[in-house]
């Protein structure tokens, strides 16, 4: 099974730091441990989702502004 990066929190997933900025990461990008791959908004705070493993992003499993649950896979590492 491919490695995955999961959401640590329930909330709303964002792929970019603000609406008019580019995505943190795109498919095909390399990620290192600690890289920010998105944000989860909950309780009026935006929490960075950091990669806990290194690899190359195969696909995003959650869309921008999609509701996510804690433990839900966000990224497949190819």
């Amino acid at each position: 099974m491919a490695e995955q990066i999961v959401s640590p929190l329930p909330g709303t997933f964002y792929r970019k730091p603000s609406p008019d900025e580019p995505n943190f990461k795109n498919e095909g990008d390399a990620v290192a441990v600690g890289d920010v791959i998105g944000l989860v908004e909950v309780m009026k705070t935006f929490n960075e989702v950091k990669a806990d493993k290194a690899g190359t992003i195969g696909s995003f499993l959650a869309d921008n502004e999609e509701p996510v649950m804690a433990g839900q896979p966000l990224v497949d590492l190819g």
Partner: protein
């Protein structure tokens, strides 16, 4: 003592709350799920009202400097001692130097971490609860942070006890929250009032200890009426009044907000009604996006539900006393 290696998200010290100051604008604070908080304490052998850590959506990582006993109730956040998974609603030993961490949230929203002897922060206005917005009580008036050293009372504790599943409580799916209509109910059209109960709402991601906001239902329609002097022009405004714990305000008529433990005590929004006291614990266990229905009840039904909840807490005390 407990060393905080990772605070989790908005983890704070809470007990049964700070009562008697709401009229001065100081909210009661305290655990949002008071049944789970008391159960956690009783499991480790503490008085039911001792101070615990309330973790929201995500568990902290804590190192213990002395042997103790811990229990985690409420949300399904599996505790781990040096990586070994432990049961929820169960008291287990933790040795000096061991680290308590948590798996991902699998259900509910808030976990109550009781430690034998209780969290021994100073009592402020009669309570150890944290009111973070007012920088009052708890550990230095704020959620815990990396590097904090949190004092714990002295007690040996009781390990190996489990609270029977029949004595636990969690919201259904969709969650059903019982409401007693309030004194402003006549401001709402009959059709809109019926829609409020018929619609399925969803918990907004902003929901926190201050208030639980909901989205997804139809906006409230107000009856035509002369605006009271001083109430402002929006039909959801009133002349400032007191807000009860559990009251449901709907600013602008769009998104209902249930005031919870850290809420302000008054203001200028009309209230549809009040969530019955028996169901406030359930709100504390609702994640963002939880589908929710509001169910209208009478005062007699509300009082019966309160008696039923108190009886359940009595059974928990009997089982673990």
């Amino acid at each position: 003592m407990i060393k905080v290696l990772n605070p989790g998200l908005a983890t704070s010290v809470q007990d049964m709350g700070r009562h008697g100051y709401y009229h001065l604008g100081i909210p009661q604070s305290g655990g949002m799920d008071q049944l789970a908080l008391q159960a956690a304490n009783l499991l480790v052998g503490n008085p039911a009202d001792a101070a615990v850590l309330e973790a929201t959506f995500m568990g902290p990582e804590l190192e213990f400097t002395a042997d103790t006993v811990v229990a985690v109730t409420g949300a399904a956040l599996t505790p781990k001692v040096d990586g070994d998974a432990q049961e929820n609603w169960h008291s287990f030993p933790v040795k000096a130097g061991q680290v308590l961490s948590f798996d991902y949230l699998k259900g509910g929203a808030r976990a109550y971490i009781a430690v034998a002897g209780g969290i021994d922060v100073p009592i402020v206005l009669g309570s150890r609860s944290t009111y973070a917005l007012g920088a009052l009580g708890g550990f230095k008036g704020r959620p815990i942070a990396v590097g904090d050293e949190i004092p714990v009372g002295k007690a040996s504790g009781t390990a190996g006890r489990t609270l029977d599943a029949s004595l636990r409580r969690a919201p259904a799916s969709p969650a059903e929250i019982r409401v007693l209509p309030g004194i402003y109910w006549h401001w709402v059209t009959d059709e809109s009032g019926a829609r409020f109960y018929a619609d399925t709402w969803k918990v907004a991601p902003e929901a926190d200890r201050i208030g639980y906001r909901f989205r997804g239902g139809e906006p409230i329609q107000f009856t035509e009426r002369e605006r009271p002097f001083g109430a402002g022009s929006d039909p959801s405004n009133i002349v400032d009044g007191c807000y009860p714990y559990g009251s449901i305000q709907v600013p602008g008529g769009t998104e209902p907000i249930i005031l919870h433990r850290d809420a302000v005590s008054g203001g200028g929004y009309f209230m549809l009604g009040t969530v019955i006291s028996a169901d406030m614990d359930l709100i504390g266990q609702m994640q963002p996006h939880t589908p929710t229905r509001f169910v209208k009840v009478t005062m007699d039904q509300a009082l019966q539900a309160r008696a039923d909840r108190m009886a359940l807490i009595g059974k928990i005390k009997d089982a673990l006393g």
